[in-house]
């Protein structure tokens, strides 16, 4: 067994163990911390596959952004030390059975295609230079249009979040009168 395989199995154990604890932990804050470990393990798996850019993005966006956002919302909405009630036994058993069935089914499919045509002869070049040139090219196979669309989506999500989470003004009439008086002031100035 070479060292690369050992590292792969260690990373996989970290990802899956932390993932299982994240979905079964009774305290919600611990669940978030286990999710953090699982995401760090996935970043390590990207490093192991030598796609350093994706690994860096994974750490910056997921570990630095989404998990912090989740922890903030836990603090805003929950008592972090409080234990969540366990789901009913029957539901747990049926969910576990469904998941195990899905795992077995998919493993069976993957196992049958044992020999994926691995053409590892060509080099896998993931330098920043290559990623930027291929992603932002304006030819037929470039991704410049989805890139711009995603920027619009992020803007829309940002504005939407502010609108949804904004506390509605308690007295709509007072704000209307304020705008009215504002326009009156403008009119008097004229």
């Amino acid at each position: 067994m070479n060292i690369s395989a050992i590292i792969f199995y260690a990373i996989s154990a970290l990802i899956l163990g932390a993932g299982i604890l994240a979905v079964t932990s009774v305290k919600i804050f611990r669940s978030a911390i286990w999710l953090l470990f699982s995401l760090v393990g996935i970043a390590a798996l990207y490093f192991w596959m030598q796609v350093e850019f994706i690994a860096a993005i994974q750490i910056v966006v997921y570990v630095g952004g989404i998990v912090v956002l989740i922890i903030f919302s836990i603090f805003l909405t929950q008592h972090s030390g409080k234990e969540m009630p366990n789901p009913p036994k029957s539901k747990m058993i049926f969910s576990a059975l469904a998941s195990l069935f899905g795992i077995a089914f998919t493993y069976n499919l993957i196992y049958r295609y044992d020999a994926f045509a691995m053409n590892s002869s060509k080099p896998f070049n993931t330098s920043m230079n290559e990623i930027g040139t291929q992603m932002l090219s304006t030819t037929n196979y470039g991704y410049i249009l989805p890139f711009e669309l995603v920027s619009m989506l992020l803007l829309a999500a940002m504005v939407g979040c502010i609108v949804i989470a904004m506390r509605p003004s308690t007295n709509p009439i007072s704000s209307a009168t304020i705008t009215l008086t504002g326009s009156e002031i403008l009119n008097t100035k004229d």
Partner: protein
């Protein structure tokens, strides 16, 4: 022990996906359900990168899909948490069992 192949990575990502599915089925708290969804999206990302690296190393399309999925997941998490905070304000709870006005 032989070299790690694509199959081992697919086993890991499949298991992670169904762990997320189990969490989505059993949890009743909206934040933990969101965490399960994040796990599932991450397993899909692993699949994209692994297929790209081992089957089509001359192109980088899988990496771009991963980047777009990460971006959209970030937007989705932000909107979901805004909705959760708004729900907590009106219901004082973020259990899905307590938000049943639009059921039936």
């Amino acid at each position: 022990m032989q070299e790690i192949t694509l199959n081992q990575i697919l086993f890991v990502s499949t298991t992670l996906f169904f762990i997320g599915m189990y969490g989505l089925f059993t949890r009743r708290n909206l934040i933990t359900m969101l965490m399960s969804i994040e796990l599932m999206l991450n397993s899909v990302n692993i699949n994209f990168v692994a297929f790209n690296k081992y089957l089509y190393p001359e192109k980088l399309d899988g990496l771009f899909f991963t980047l777009f999925i990460i971006t959209i997941a970030a937007a989705e998490a932000a909107v979901a948490i805004a909705i959760i905070i708004n729900l907590y304000r009106s219901h004082n709870s973020i259990d899905v069992d307590d938000a049943t006005e639009m059921k039936y």
